[in-house]
Symmetry: C2
């Protein structure tokens, strides 16, 4: 039962640290964003994605694939953001199945304010703890790991 002991393989150790770092940072981010701006991390990410998109709009399906969220999760989140007035629906002329999510003025200003908190937390928890080259190394290594985008194609589980 050596796989139950702490002398794990390197991959397991890396994963354990990754989980812990992720959890700590995500919690802090979530705490700051929700207490100061009444936004969850996911809501912040949606707003950010919309702000970067052409015309501040995106199809729901595109949001779902870029976020770590199922289509139904997107629908519900967009409902909440819509109730809060941060996002609006828009129809697509060429394909009436699609509904765009469009960032409102309010959404944009909320995003800008929240972005400052977000960036400050990341800077404090990540930027300040690692030197520039380390950040670069970290990013490069993480890029070699699976990513949510290629989740669909990744043929894990059929071995």
């Amino acid at each position: 039962m050596q796989h139950l002991t702490t002398q794990a393989t390197n991959a397991k150790q890396s994963w354990a640290r990754l989980v812990r770092a992720y959890a700590a940072i995500a919690r802090e981010l979530d705490a700051r964003l929700s207490s100061e701006h009444d936004l969850t991390i996911n809501e912040y990410e949606v707003l950010l994605l919309l702000a970067r998109a052409e015309g501040s709009r995106l199809r729901r399906i595109d949001l779902a694939t870029q976020l770590i969220l199922s289509p139904s999760g997107i629908t519900r989140m967009l409902d909440r953001l819509g109730d809060a007035g941060l996002v609006e629906k828009a129809e697509c002329a060429s394909d009436r199945r699609v509904t765009y999510a469009v960032l409102t003025e309010d959404g944009m200003s909320r995003l800008k304010a929240a972005g400052r908190s977000h960036d400050a937390v990341i800077e404090q928890l990540v930027g300040a703890r690692l030197a520039k080259p380390e950040l670069k190394t970290l990013t490069e290594i993480l890029e070699r790991l699976p990513s949510v985008e290629d989740d669909a194609e990744c043929s894990i589980g059929d071995d």
Copy 2:
């Protein structure tokens, strides 16, 4: 509004990659664990923590701090694991407020089986994609980031 564009600081890029890697791996892990062993990641972690603990038992409060879970979350999870027969309650003679969670025989064998799936996924998604020295570097860098354990002491948020 340059903080809304994609040319982010290194820290933000690293964080973005970390989130994506975490999400992809955690999803796969969760999918495997739940389809093959009917366990969530957190349930697996609890079982693992218990197996490593002295006497295969741990106070609920200790589980809560080592896991990414609130005390009430622990209670509910332990209820589920108890219903499934993987974990039992035990009283503490010296302090009757505490309830131990104790791994059962069934819990141990379930853990062993699940551990193989877990390790295989990590090996496939992390171990196989990075060379040994990279794994080492990754772990070292991640260790410099905040971790759930020091979450309590970390004085973020009062700046």
